[in-house]
Symmetry: C2
Subunit: 100 residues, 2 copies
DNA sequence: ATAATATGTGACTATTTAGTCACTTGTCAA
DNA sequence: TTGACAAGTGACTAAATAGTCACATATTAT
């Protein structure tokens, strides 16, 4: 799967976007901490975190028996620059409003 | 399903992002035209287009027996402004690079 | 050592999703 | 008005996904 594709797929799930939000609010949380806010077992949360990690949106570091999760905004920025940009820029908006 | 959620889900599929790209290149294409570039029957394309339309990313207009598809960049811009922005802005990047 | 804690693995189920197909509806043109 | 053309519907299959559970591993503290 292409990297950009993995990022889009990872962002498709609201639970995963919520996890990113949680890390944006407080970075470096453990699995247990991240699970507490969610109506889901830690296994479900673990799977979501792995998807985010594979997509490069989350990086981890072990501290003893804990695993700390850190947000990595770079992939989002890449999507922003290379993909969202061409739709969000005024040119596209004008083009459509004229064509319709 | 929340509107923002529908947009993210719609963007998750590479075929659907390809359809948006095709419309960005030339707006107002019919189902048949959009299908030609894809290794898929028109039924598959139809389903993808319906997902895009429900998410508000594509709007349509009938012309006789044809259905014209137009790109609507507004939802992408909303995601850009309200969601991507808070990750793509320098603050988030700096925050993470300090915390790790 | 041992008990509690934090995370990991593999198998499993249920749901959703992608894609196809036979058949239908609506529209244009000869 | 009849035949060709563009799009739509409902049922169906195959694959991916979300989520759980029993069990296992690694680490900390007593």
């Amino acid at each position: 799967m292409l990297p950009v594709d993995e990022v889009f797929r990872a962002l498709a799930d609201p639970t995963r976007r919520g996890l990113l939000d949680a890390l944006l609010a407080r970075d470096g949380q453990t699995l247990g901490e991240l699970q507490q806010r969610l109506p889901m077992t830690r296994f479900g949360v673990m799977k979501h975190l792995r998807v985010l990690e594979k997509a490069g949106l989350v990086v981890t570091r072990r501290r003893g028996r804990e695993k700390l999760h850190f947000l990595n905004p770079v992939p989002i920025r890449l999507i922003h620059d290379r993909w969202v940009g061409k739709y969000a820029e005024p040119r596209a908006l004008a083009l459509v409003s004229v064509t319709r």
